[in-house]
Amino acid sequence: MSDLFVVDSLTVTLPTSRGPVDVVKDVSFTVGRDDTVGIVGESGSGKSMTALAVLGLLPRGAQTSGSVRLEGTELLGKSERELRAVRGNAISMVFQDPLSSLNPYYTVGLQISEMYQTHRGGSRRAAKHVAIEALERVGIPDPGRRVDHYPHQFSGGQRQRVMIAMALCCSPSLLIADEPTTALDVTVQAQILELLAELQSTTGTGMIFITHDLAVISSIAQRVLVMREGDPVEYGSAEQVFSDPRHEYTRMLLDAVPRIDDEVSA
């Protein structure tokens, strides 16, 4: 397994009114091709900040140190212009709430094709064709017609499919999914996870899957990074982390997952 993507002692510092605060502290992990790394933690644990740091999308005034390399190329410290060529192209992202993450003023077709055109050029017509194919690949029925529809005309699960279609339309080598199933029903969640796994196996895209849901992570990730208040608490293969957690906090998280065979205390 070659290392597609390497994060090496990444630290993110945000300015606050009470001085700088490290929201991500010395985080390291690697993602291989066709490999999924899960990042788990509660809200405020620094999961999303890690993802945003990778794409250079941190809030203004944020400082980063360490190293983030995609196929050997350092990303930290790149200019905005250079980062723009990476975003959506080599690394793309799927966000938590698909309704608010899609622009309500434009058709889903335009939102997919504008990204394709930005990175690959070509005519508007060709880009629209790419959008239709992308929608078809994620299982949107009647994509030729749906491509001209607006986000509010889709169901929640379909919207997330649209987001995934968009994220994959430039065949990125790394996909960052930031809580992609959190806003969805449990049954739809399963469908989206299945879709992501299926697409990954056909495209060989590496994936960082961010969630607070351990059940979700166990079904999709090969390796797991557990974070708490910006600290990497535990990092290892999914099997090891779930069956033999080394850290107290991981054990606590695992215990917090309700199980169907748990006895209900009165």
Binding site: R84, G88, Y105, E114, T118
Partner: protein, 327 residues
């Protein structure tokens, strides 16, 4: 969509009818007898009565209202005076039909409104946008402080101040007068410029603050973050994913403000002595010329109602979420 448009137009007719009736009742019931006003100094009860007959004031109120409505479409006869359709009444003080008074002055008010609207949209939206992008900088703070000040200065103070400085002291501008554009475009521009500026300042300040807060809101939207994560160019992100969502709500208030101005800028037109609808309204109120007061009120209501419908229809084109509900 067609059904929606027809429905809206139907409701417009109803609203205008209600406005007509209400205005009619107010002006012809609550103000002094117009016959007495017309009669003048050498007045006798007989003369008043005959004037009342000519004006139709001795008939029941609803009959009078019906005559008024009929006059709008069919024209009307006041004794020997004929008021051709569309007859909104006849002013016996100026011996003119109200309609011809309006049509003579409307171009001035439209010129005033359009010029001011262009100015305040440009200044307000661009100022607000720059402030939003440079949020927290000295530019932003200065601009917003000025905007707050600008909103607070009354029109007539600004008008008198500008007039004193630019016309009387520095003599860089002529005294405002309604010079037709075709006669002398430069003088036309110069004589309207102060009016436009005075009217535009308040609106521009309001729009700048509104644009700024709308753009800042949009910049923190999730879809704006998505647009950045997609690697789109800066200008495309601003144009598509910040400006369009931020400016769409502004069309609503712009439609209303502009429509309101078409009904006449009473204070500004009066201060600058421009013979528009606003000044006509002020004059007719001073002279208690009821047919004119009423027609001006109706005209203003008409513009506001029509402006509202135009904004609604425009909105279905601008915001796809509205489109679906309406079809």
């Amino acid at each position: 969509m067609t059904r929606y448009v027809l429905g809206r137009l139907g409701s417009v007719v109803l609203i205008l009818l209600a406005v007509c009736l209400f205005t009619y009742l107010i002006f012809f019931k609550l103000s002094p007898d117009p016959a007495v006003m017309i009669c003048g100094k050498t007045c006798t009860p007989d003369r008043i009565n005959s004037i009342r007959d000519v004006l139709g004031l001795n008939q029941p109120i609803l009959t009078q209202f019906w005559e008024f409505l009929r006059g709008i479409f069919a024209g009307r006869q006041y004794g020997s005076v004929h008021c051709p359709a569309p007859c909104l009444g006849y002013s016996f003080q100026t011996n003119e039909s109200v309609w011809s008074m309006i049509t003579a002055r409307l171009p001035v008010s439209i010129t005033v409104a359009v010029g001011a609207a262009v100015l305040w949209l440009l200044a307000g939206v661009i100022g607000g946008l720059v402030s939003a992008v440079k949020q927290g900088t000295w530019w932003d703070r200065t601009a917003m402080a000025l905007a707050l000040g600008g909103v607070s200065v009354p029109n007539y103070v600004l008008a008198l101040l500008l007039q004193y400085v630019l016309v009387v002291k520095l003599q860089v501008l002529p005294f405002p007068s309604a010079v037709p554009f075709a006669d002398n475009p430069v003088l036309w521009f110069e004589s309207y410029l102060m009016t436009w500026v005075v009217l535009a300042v308040g609106y521009a300040c309001l729009y700048a603050r509104l644009t700024r807060s709308n753009v800042i809101d949009t910049l923190s939207e999730n879809y704006f973050r998505t647009a950045r994560a997609k690697g789109l160019s800066g200008s495309l992100i601003m144009r598509r994913h910040a400006l369009r969502p931020a400016l769409t709500p502004i069309t609503t208030i712009f439609g209303m403000d502009f429509a309101g101005l078409l009904g006449g800028a009473l204070i500004t037109e009066t201060v600058f002595g421009l013979n528009g609808i606003g000044k006509m309204a002020a004059d007719s109120i001073a002279k208690n010329d009821q047919p004119v007061i009423m027609a001006v009120t109706l005209l203003a209501a008409f513009f506001v109602v029509i402006g509202n419908v135009v904004v609604d229809l425009l909105y279905t084109a601008l915001d796809p979420r509205v489109r679906v509900v309406s079809s």
